[in-house]
């Protein structure tokens, strides 16, 4: 059966001018709803415009696909969630209409009116809460199939892979006082604080200040204008409307979401508020009875908003169930604008609402005396919920006030958070304003560190009848389609604590996150279990207060990128970029193998600027080096450099590099590129916390020097052409030495004779501003020598040919120094160094893994890195950590970690390739596959 929607008997239409209306009747806007043209006014919400044109159904419910209309006419209205263009889940009772908007209902197939999913209503109770857990169990393999079917019923709008990211923004703010909520108490608080000299930010969720005053009578509107004018005129108050405080985090870190700004879609303001004033007002709560979700059933404040703010007549004939003044005021408003108010039912005088009846929309109301009233509008006013999220986030726990029949703040707030307005208590406007002002003044005094105490007048919650559910059962959670009956059934099954019940039934888990639903959930549970509401307690409110877009949370994309001084050259010479942490580096310039050959035969230059570089000065540097490196440093001559490895206190290798002595008390340390920052912190940590008496100044020089490695048999000749003041001959500048001099006219350059590639090479560090210039000179002045650039890939090949390991590739998070094959380097006879005890014990044990050179028997087979080395039984005995084809020796070469017992030259191990093949490889004597004696780099 297909439910059909009849046109309303009379068109719901736009009323004549209302005193507090927000619409600008001179500005017509056009938009579409489900492809049909509609018109509205500037100032309309999407829903008010649609209602003015007679539309009543804006969505279908999640499970039973029941038609849904206006309930609260606020942001949190569960029935008014639509798709606007490519934006899903737009709150249509809040979002202002814009010209050209394409609005679509999100649920309802094939259309809102004729919805196939509504057939679910037929099975009714059959898919009540907990249904999924108890069905589809067997056969288990079919669950994914059932799942696919169920997914089709998922609520929510659509995202599109083609949607642009959009513009989002963030900013920081440091207000003395931040006021969350711009109703009368909030405005008064802002004024009280600003008058006391505080800088104030006042945040209001609606498009304009005023709260409930906006849809009040003439007196309210006069008061509103006065307050609003005063706020607007005050230089100390920054007002943010259509903005919401989404959370109050530790240390009063307050998140404010600003929506629909001129140049950005949304902006997240992160405010470090000295004090926070919570003035979030009250939310009107729905009543639970049969038919309470029929279109035409709405809250008293919803009716008042529609009439007074948007001049929309919500029905023709109304019944009002009024347990409080808001209900009476709604009845008066409706009567004033020509809605026939057939009955005002007052529970205080015995009136009772039993159920609402109708097919697809409200048609009749059944009252306690058995009478049936024909009507198309039922307004309920049964009480309030205090949205206490912000005070809860500050450590307060809500307390149930039985007299007022609502949860209120528990009174355990830190000094930095205050509350005012409806969340605290009720009263006439003057009382709210007085309380707000005094609270604002007190907040300012606390923020500004003033001692004088402020008398804050009492504001008590007013007594209110406890009305939660009628004698019939109805919807408790509109967006989740959870009925009070479901809750009772779940409680009987044993899900009888509010947290378990919430999880089992999903009540309060939908888009409004319990703002409308929690209290009724608790009340129904209390009733079902025979406990009081106080004993039952409430669930923990969780941030954010209102949903916040991923775009706003992300803000501008701030992902730092670092470039070498030579990047412009790389860009214009075909370098393939590779992301290395924050750096962008050249992987190769087209042909890595050719780059290798050129280095081996002629000369190549590589940009190694991201290398970590620490300038170390002071009389105690050698002590520091002795401590952080595993080898000895006391006897390093001025002009010499040495290789060193650092270990953590667990003996695991954390970094390696060379350090040179430039002058008696002046050293220069290089680290790996990826470890640059960590090593800096590591060194500072030891100096500052363990050895504060050592006199060492550490300065990071990563960016101060452009670093270029000139490698190849002709490197000396090339560099010699540009260096007038340093003798580069092997006799006076030998391997592992450092000189300072002039390169291409640039003074103050360091030159190191070291070589990761295994070739004769010079690593030069040039003041960074001149890096590009020197690079270009090397290229132009070395043209006849065959100079060419090489990238990271060629360097990786050559270092592997040479058997140099890479920390983090050939070692991992548990590789201790001896496993990396560093027995020759580690000096266990040193008095102390970081990680020494573990290395002593590792040496004694002699077990663990060992890094070895490996060559596959098939010289052209390059086992993928991470291929496992296995025993005949399939047990893992190691893995290939690095592998390449060596253009230099014309075969595949590897480094690998293998069990210590296999780490004997000549052992043949079995490598299992990712494709499943098993291939033999031989453990080599050296890590180096090429020139193990080092004659080339020493040349």
């Amino acid at each position: 059966m297909i439910s059909s929607r009849r046109r309303p008997t009379a068109m719901i239409s736009r009323l004549g001018r209302q005193e507090g209306e927000l619409i600008d009747r001179s500005r017509r806007l056009s938009f579409t709803f489900n492809g049909v043209e509609h018109r509205g006014f500037d100032g309309d919400t999407i829903v008010s415009a649609l209602m003015a044109e007679g539309e009543r159904i804006f969505s279908r419910s999640f499970k039973y696909h029941r038609p849904r209309s206006v309930l609260s006419a606020t942001f949190h209205d569960p029935g008014c969630i639509v798709q606007v263009g490519d934006e899903p889940n737009v709150r249509a009772a809040h979002r202002r209409l814009r010209d050209g908007m394409a609005v679509e209902a999100q649920t309802g197939w094939p259309s809102l009116r004729y919805d196939v999913g509504a057939a679910n209503q037929l099975v009714g109770r059959f898919i009540g809460a907990g249904f999924y857990y108890k069905t589809f169990i067997k056969p288990q393999r079919l669950w994914p199939t059932y799942e696919k079917v169920l997914q089709r019923f998922a609520a929510g709008g659509r995202v599109q892979a083609s949607s642009p990211h959009g513009t989002y923004d963030k900013r920081y703010a440091h207000p003395d006082v931040l006021v969350a909520g711009g109703g009368p108490a909030g405005m008064a608080a802002a004024l009280g604080a600003a008058d006391a000299g505080a800088n104030v930010i006042l945040v209001e969720e609606e498009y304009e200040l005023g709260g409930h005053l906006r849809f009040g009578g003439s007196e309210d509107l006069v008061a509103l204008r006065e307050l609003r004018d005063e706020v607007g005129a005050h230089a100390g108050i920054e007002v943010m409307t259509n903005s919401v405080v989404t959370g109050r985090y530790d240390d009063n870190w307050v998140a404010v979401l600003q929506r629909e700004l001129p140049q950005v879609a949304e902006r997240l303001v992160k405010a470090r508020a000295k004090t926070l004033v919570v003035a979030s007002g009250l939310i009107e709560r729905p009543y639970v009875f049969e038919g309470n979700d029929l279109p035409g059933v709405m809250l008293s404040t919803a009716a008042r908003r529609l009439v007074n703010l948007y001049a929309v007549k919500p029905g023709q004939q109304a019944v009002v169930f009024a347990a409080n003044e808001s209900g009476q005021a709604a009845a008066a408003d409706l009567d004033r604008v020509g809605v026939e108010v057939l009955k005002v039912v007052d529970p205080a005088s015995g009136g009772e609402l039993v159920r609402a009846l109708g097919r697809g929309q409200l048609e009749q109301v059944e009252l306690g005396d058995g009478s049936i009233v024909d009507c198309d509008l039922l307004v309920t006013a049964v009480g309030w919920t205090a949205p206490t999220l912000l005070v809860n986030m500050a450590g307060d726990r809500p307390r149930y006030d039985e007299r007022a029949a609502r949860f209120v703040p528990g009174g355990a707030l830190p000094d930095t958070v205050l509350a005012t307005g409806g969340i605290v208590g009720d009263g006439p406007l003057q009382a709210l304003v007085a309380h707000g002002r005094a609270t604002g003044t007190a907040a300012a005094h606390r923020a500004l560190g003033r001692a004088d105490s402020i008398d804050i007048p009492e504001l008590e919650p007013a007594p209110h009848p406890a009305l939660f559910r009628a004698r019939t059962h109805g919807i408790v959670d509109y967006s989740e389609d959870v009925y009070s009956k479901d809750l009772v059934a779940a409680a009987r099954e044993g899900y009888d604590s509010v947290e378990l019940l919430k999880r089992y039934t999903t009540a309060t888990m939908g888009p409004s996150q319990g703002k409308l639903e929690t209290i009724n959930t608790v009340a129904v549970l209390a009733e079902a279990t025979g406990r009081s509401i106080e004993e039952t307690g409430t669930t923990v409110w969780r941030p954010p207060y209102a949903p916040i877009s991923l775009g706003a949370l992300a803000g501008r994309i701030l992902e730092p990128v670092r470039y070498s001084p030579m990047q412009p050259w790389h860009d214009s010479h075909g370098a393939k970029p590779i992301v290395a942490g924050q750096w962008i580096r050249p992987e190769h310039y087209g042909d890595a193998a050719a780059e290798v050959r050129n280095v081996r035969e002629n000369v190549g230059i590589i940009d190694v600027s991201p290398l970590g570089k620490l300038d170390l000065r002071g009389p105690d540097v050698s002590k520091l080096l002795n401590f952080v490196y595993v080898n000895k440093w006391s006897k390093l001559d001025v002009g010499s450099v040495r290789y060193g490895v650092m270990c953590g206190e667990d003996g695991v290798v954390i970094d390696d590099g060379v350090t040179g002595r430039l002058a008696a008390d002046h050293y220069f340390m290089s680290t790996t590129s990826s470890g640059a920052q960590a090593v800096h912190e590591w060194v500072e940590n030891w100096l500052q916390t363990s050895f504060p008496s050592w006199q060492v100044h550490v300065t990071s020089m990563v960016s101060a020097y452009a670093s270029i490695n000139i490698a190849g048999p002709r490197s000396r000749e090339l560099l010699g052409r540009l260096v007038p003041d340093v003798d580069l001959s092997p006799e006076s500048f030998s391997y592992m030495q450092v000189r300072t001099g002039t390169i291409a006219g640039v003074p103050g350059c360091h030159m190191w004779r070291i070589g990761f590639t295994g070739e004769l090479s010079f690593e030069i560090h040039v003041p960074a501003g001149y890096g590009l210039y020197v690079w270009e000179r090397l290229m132009s002045d070395g043209k006849d020598l065959g100079v060419g650039p090489f990238g990271l890939e060629a360097q990786r090949v050559m270092r592997l040919e040479k058997g140099h390991f890479i920390v983090g590739q050939d070692t991992d998070g548990v590789t201790q120094a001896l496993s990396a094959g560093l027995d020759w380097l580690v000096k266990l006879d040193k008095e102390d160094f970081a990680g020494k005890p573990e290395l002593v014990w590792q040496h004694e044990r002699g077990d663990g893994m060992r890094l070895v050179g490996l060559q596959p028997s098939d010289t052209h087979l390059v086992p993928a890195e991470a291929s496992q080395i296995v025993s005949p039984s399939g047990a893992i005995e190691g893995r290939i950590t690095s592998s390449r084809f060596s253009p230099t020796i014309g075969r595949s070469i590897c480094l690998g970690l293998v069990s210590a017992r296999l780490a004997v030259a000549g052992t043949v191990v079995t490598v299992k390739l990712p494709d499943g093949r098993h291939v033999p490889a031989t453990v080599m004597e050296h890590h180096a596959h090429f020139d193990p004696e080092g004659s080339r780099l020493r040349g």
Binding site: I137, E147, R158, Y168, E493, G494, P544, I548, G551, A866
Partner: protein, 394 residues
């Protein structure tokens, strides 16, 4: 459902913590070993801790052979759990992708894939094109800040309904005679001459020759009551969920480099997690910066979903060990056993850990499956090498 009982004077086994580990251990004690005089005590409600706060991702694509074997057993148990417990736990093996954004993480992915295959677990390194086919919303172009260069694809991985698992074990245990005591906080653990004799609670004393610590977040504090020190630091782990949208993301997606993981529930919500908070804390209040980082990283991967909105965030507590591997088995106090230190991996391990712990209780012998995860390994310097690939890995 499970019933409420008065506390008895003594039980054969007292299990502290009514999360998936505690509940499942009780269930397997009763179901596999006929030991049903068991009390599961919890200071809160069933599944109210990490078991109800995690992002319900299952996988077994770990790095070490012992890790892979162990988690694979867990996935196997999860596969048949609905039938075993007669409760639909909604396990959906949608496939699990761990993205690699650089050479070194791709190498680690391959390492995991190779170790997985050797243990018979289905894992493979796939290309950006294959990733795009599985996740059409993913930006796999190479002009992004952190280009995606490949992924570890693990088809058996997926998501499950965590509450259903907790409730399923609780119901099944209850039927076999296990007593679940909610709102029962352990305030002390009694020992006599180096062996455990019972626990003190806010509802009274309980005697027991065997006490299991199956807590998360509070594991080191609970163990300290028995005088057992654990190498644990507690960090909050946060998660968030968006408003629902129509299904567009089938697989579970993890990026270790970007510290984020995401999946879409049947309800249409995206569920996100990230790495643990950067400093130790027992606070479950959550932070704004978590959602900020999360959003910016998710949008790096899927820039077109910027308009989706975060609906709710929450936090749980994780007990992190030095080698990112759990601690299971005996302690120096006889009869006091631990099943703790799960870091961010606890939920997916529940069934296998519980099955093994139940066997340990029943037989007095540590099953081979968990032998590598003993407490003594720290003092003896035998750390498990999951640390070799210590990125986020949910």
């Amino acid at each position: 459902m499970w019933r409420n009982f008065e506390l008895e004077k003594s039980y054969d086994v007292v299990i502290i913590g009514a999360g998936v580990h505690g509940l499942a251990t009780a269930y397997y004690l009763a179901a596999n070993h006929g030991i049903s005089k068991v009390a599961v005590v919890d200071k809160g409600y069933v599944g109210g801790g990490g078991s109800g706060r995690n992002t319900a991702i299952l996988r077994s694509n770990y790095l070490t052979p012992e890790g892979v074997r162990f988690y694979d057993r867990s996935v196997q148990l999860y596969r048949t759990l609905a039938a075993d417990l007669n409760f639909n736990v909604m396990f959906a093996p949608r496939g699990h992708l761990t993205l690699a954004h650089n050479d070194s993480s791709l190498r680690t992915m391959r390492w995991r894939a190779e170790v997985n295959k050797l243990q018979g677990v289905d894992s493979e390194v796939i290309t950006p094109e294959e990733i795009k086919r599985l996740v059409p919303f993913m930006d796999v172009s190479d002009d992004t800040r952190y280009p995606i260069i490949g992924a570890l694809y693990h088809p058996p991985g997926g998501i499950i309904r965590h509450d259903a698992v907790n409730w399923g074990y609780a119901r099944a245990g209850d039927r076999l005679g296990v007593q679940i005591h909610q709102n029962t906080e352990v305030t002390g653990i009694r020992t006599e001459k180096g062996r455990v004799s019972g626990v003190s609670t806010n509802r009274g004393e309980i005697g027991a020759p065997i006490v299991l610590n199956c807590t998360a977040g509070w594991a080191s504090l609970v163990s300290a009551m028995a005088g057992v020190k654990l190498p644990i630091i507690t960090h909050p782990l946060q998660a968030a969920v968006t408003e629902p949208v129509k299904m567009f993301l089938d697989a579970v997606v993890v990026s270790g480099s970007l510290h984020v993981y995401v999946s879409q529930t049947d309800r249409g919500e995206l569920v996100f997690g990230a790495s643990t908070d950067p400093y130790a804390s027992y606070s479950m209040r959550g932070s704004l910066e978590f959602t900020e980082e999360l959003a910016s990283h998710v949008l790096e991967l899927m820039p077109s979903i910027a308009k989706m909105r975060v609906l709710r965030q929450w936090a749980g507590l994780c007990d992190i060990t030095p080698d990112f591997s759990p601690i299971m088995g005996i302690t120096e106090v006889e009869g006091f056993l631990v099943d703790v230190g799960w870091g961010t991996y606890g939920f997916k391990a529940g069934p296998a850990a519980a099955e093994a712990m139940a066997e340990l209780v029943a037989t007095g012998r540590t099953p081979q499956l968990i032998a590598a995860f003993d407490l003594a390994r720290f003092a003896e310097g035998r750390l498990a090498s999951e640390r070799g690939a210590a990125a986020v890995g949910h």
